[in-house]
Amino acid sequence: MSRRYDSRTTIFSPEGRLYQVEYAMEAIGNAGTAIGILSKDGVVLVGEKKVTSKLLQTSTSTEKMYKIDDHVACAVAGIMSDANILINTARVQAQRYTYAYQEPMPVEQLVQSLCDTKQGYTQFGGLRPFGVSFLFAGWDKNYGFQLYMSDPSGNYGGWKAAAIGANNQAAQSILKQDYKDDITREEAVQLSLKVLSKTMDSTSLTSDKLELAEVFLSPSGKVKYQVCSPETLTNLLVKHGVTQPATDTA
């Protein structure tokens, strides 16, 4: 391995690899899994929380899910502080577009714009790449509901179902088997919880280890981004048979 070519982000190795970008992706492989599933009537994002403590203020802080604009949200996997910078950049880009055109920014353009920023850190400036992968979920009038995955290299793709973070390959293969094109949002929630339960290390799923968010259209046609409350999440976990209901202590 050409260790001599590791430390500079902005040069190729003799084999034609960008080691710093690959190491960034390694860092993400240790982070909590996040799964996104595109359905006919919405996009579902599920994330595994690594920081679980009763002391955590769950009502006000989220670890995995963030809203970028009224019509776009994202799930993150990787270094949280890096993610915050990029999320802020994405938010500014979305507002800048709306300022110029008085319309919401098309989802793919937002993803592309953020990925252009990430690519800059692999080519010039001598700064390390961001150690974050994203799953973007959104709706626009051009293409309806969309799901995009992006990584530290600045590559992105549109997906029907995708996974990032720890065990993402296992999650992706289960998704490949079980996803069907005409899946509904409710079925997508069920599938995402099922896949997460199979790929997570812990023995049982409880609502404090997960975050679940959905992007869908309200009856009036407005895009809604909703993070599931812990109570609803517990009920969902029981309903889909993914966790044992709490046994009454004698």
Partner: protein, 211 residues
């Protein structure tokens, strides 16, 4: 002295502009097309200072084309209008572009629309609008005869009424006008209304002198 006006009808928008290029008291040409085709379904009718008019509208046209190449989808009329207004507003902080614009477009989802954008970056979505001295006459005629959902025939009839009023009542009225229309089938030239033609025929030979 430049006259630009337009209105929205049933499934279409029509814009009219005079076609004289004037410098002080000299008319350079009387068939100058001041309505630019912005993209397949948008028209910009512009009036104002000669250099600014072409410079600014071409700048907008190329940026609209760039957006379409980059993103694979065209801008909506509203987005293009707001972008245009933004560019005028930014330039205004240094020195304004002296261009007044009527932007007409057709979008599949929302139908025809007309935007009034003046040189100090006001933006209004309107059903009828006009710029210049001619606006005193064309707006009055449109106020009297316009109604929502006019057919093409009714709208062109109203356009002709406005042109007649401008020709007969404005002291240095431009002689010729061009009419362009935009609907679901796209933006295109509809007609010219010429009362003075630039002659290109060779002059008639002088009669033979009497023997």
């Amino acid at each position: 002295m430049e006259c630009v006006f337009g209105l929205v009808g049933n499934g279409f928008a029509v814009v009219v502009a005079d076609t004289s290029a004037v410098h002080s008291i000299l008319v350079h040409k009387s068939n100058e097309d001041k309505i630019m085709v912005l993209d397949s379904h948008k028209l910009i009718a512009a009036s104002g200072e000669a250099g600014d008019r072409v410079q600014f509208t071409e700048y907008i046209q190329k940026n609209v084309a760039l957006y379409q190449f980059r993103n694979g989808i065209p801008l909506t009329t509203a987005a293009a209008a707001n972008f245009t207004r933004g560019e005028l507003a930014t330039a205004l902080r240094k020195s304004p572009y002296f261009v007044n614009i009527l932007l007409a477009g057709y979008d599949k989802e929302t139908g025809p629309s007309l935007y009034y954008i003046d040189y100090i970056a006001s933006l209004h979505k309107v059903e009828k609008g006009a710029f210049g001295y001619g606006s005193y006459f064309s707006l009055s005629m449109m106020d009297r005869y316009f109604h929502s959902g006019m057919s093409v025939e009714e709208a062109i009839d109203l356009v002709d009424k406005c042109i007649l009023e401008i020709r007969s009542r404005l002291v240095v009225a431009p002689p010729n006008f061009v009419i362009k229309i935009v609907d679901k089938d796209g933006a295109r030239e509809y007609a010219w209304r010429e009362s003075v033609k630039d002659t290109t025929d060779a002059p008639a030979p002088a009669p033979a002198p009497p023997a």
